[in-house]
Amino acid sequence: MAIIETKELTKYYSSRSQKVLALSGFDLTLEQGTIFGLLGPNGAGKTTLIKILLSITFPTSGQAYVLGRDLSDFTMKKKIGYLPENHRYPGYLTGGEVLKFFGRLSGLDGAGLDKKIDELLEMMKLTKWKKVKVKTYSKGMMQRLGLAQAMINDPELIFLDEPTDGVDPIGRKEIRDILLELKARSKTIFLNSHLLSEVELITDRVAILNKGTLLREGTVQELTEKKEEYRLTIDPPDQSFSMPESYNGVTISPVKDAFNVKASDTAQLNLFIDYLRQNNVLISGIIKEKSTLEDMFISLIEQAEKGSPS
């Protein structure tokens, strides 16, 4: 079952003088048990999309279904958790009271809720802060409390908007581990993050959004793979053989202890390998080149910026 489905989702924000396009014809289908990363520069429409899916903001046009239900059905939120960016809890509440309040609003109560609060505080390493007012919490502690709040109702779908914002590297690793554990329990996680290296580590699928438009979507593998570009290593380098800069349409450029080979297709690549073998070159490795998610993201956004009228 698709846990999230959007069709031609469009959102314009109207100000006094102009209409601003926040989301343009966004289509997405997300299956259960996926960790999905939504990437994009500031103002790309990432938060708007989450807010629409949670009926915090309303779409201008298009349809969306969450957990198989129409967005107007607010009862579905019993199975949803949300950690907003820059969330604020009343400073006069303690960590335990924050969780109790949002737990009760999610329909929980009694001893079950108290037990869940203790479990989550333990998981987030906030047990000793349970009775301390949140106004004294650090940014990292607030994020961990926010994550506990998003998980209080044992949701099937969790939206996390910059969950590691302000969290130290060890805390980030702990949050990543929690997310992976949730995934193992078939929970679906919808993640907005600027930390691309982090997204790369945990997400199954990624979408890149710019100015409200979906630029690319796929697995991290699909998005970072460089088409027909290989890293070739020869062992040991034969002093008598001089590697050409190009051969039969294949371009070769030296990189550290190896060569970067660009071929238009696999047949062309094999012709080049045959040529090397004919010259008694020992090939010790040939692997398909990959870029990092960050490289790919920057290049995609730059291309989009060049292509769009400014």
Binding site: Y13, I56, T57, T75, I80, Y82, H87, R88, Y89, L105
Partner: protein, 274 residues
């Protein structure tokens, strides 16, 4: 209902945390203590005995007691209402703050329930405070005069109702502007200026205004605007003296204003992007 109850308690907690509630209770307690001190200096027993000997009934005592109650409570209730408007005007804007409203709307709670919860919470804060103040004053006077007439306690409901009407306007302004200033200013303007003036103008419209059009406009505004002046004046006085409500018009038209403000608030809130 459970969600409304939760939001109501949450608002009460917010009022307590912001010391508004405690300040309010403190002022009320001070007023009660001062009243008690003043009455401790007066020998009410000899007054009662004297009246009973002369008239042979408690009619005069009733009049004295209710007049005293009204004399004390009228300025205090007015001050209490000013404080209540000030303290409650930020309840809705606080709820609508970025980072807070997102969280509330992500829970299985309807927008209508959120707003009703905030509204009920504000009313509860004022009801508790006014209840404390009025009951305190009533107890002191009843004890001193040994005259236990609960009619004065009706003023708790009338004062809270007056606040409920003004608070509905504050809620609407809060939803529209996400700020507290406009609602607070309008509520003060109605309570302190517009309602007393309209009350006066309506009663003497035939003398003040020669033109039928102007007269009808003034009367139209009079009927639309909440009758805080009549509610806090004549109605409390009539109920305290046991006369009952002679004219329900101020009550009904103010209630209709409240209903209209809440309907507009809910419609606006349900459509608003956050």
């Amino acid at each position: 209902m459970k969600n409304i109850y939760l939001m109501t308690l949450f608002t009460l907690k917010e009022a307590l945390a912001r010391k508004v509630f405690l300040f309010f209770i403190g002022i009320s307690a001070l007023a009660i203590i001062i009243t008690a001190l003043i009455f401790s200096l007066v020998d009410t027993q000899s007054i009662i005995t004297g009246i009973e000997t002369k008239t042979g009934n408690d009619f005069l005592i009733r009049n004295i007691v209710s007049t005293l109650e009204i004399m004390i409570i009228s300025p205090l209730a007015g001050l209490g209402l000013l404080l209540a408007i000030f303290s409650s005007s930020s309840f809705v804007p606080n709820m609508l703050e970025k980072g807070n409203i997102d969280l509330l709307l992500s829970k299985p709670v309807s927008r209508q329930q959120l707003l009703w919860g905030k509204y009920a919470g504000g009313l509860l804060v004022v009801l508790l405070n006014i209840g404390f103040l009025v009951t305190g004053i009533w107890l002191i006077i009843a004890l001193k005069f040994s005259f236990w007439d609960p009619a004065f306690l009706w003023s708790i409901l009338i004062i809270t109702f007056t606040f409920a009407v003004l608070y509905s306007l504050i809620v609407l302004c809060g939803v529209l502007t996400r700020g507290s200033m406009l609602g607070m200013m309008l509520a003060y303007f109605i309570f302190l200026v517009l309602s007393p003036i309209l009350n006066l103008a309506y009663g003497r419209a035939d003398i003040f205004f020669k033109s039928d059009i102007v007269r009808n406009i003034v009367k139209g505004i009079y009927y639309f605007i909440p009758k805080t002046s009549e509610l806090m004046g004549g109605m409390i006085s009539d109920l305290a003296t046991g006369k009952g409500i002679s004219d329900f018009q101020p009550l009904i038209s103010s209630f209709l204003f409240l209903v209209l403000m809440m309907i507009l608030s809910i419609i606006t809130f349900r459509k608003k992007d956050f």
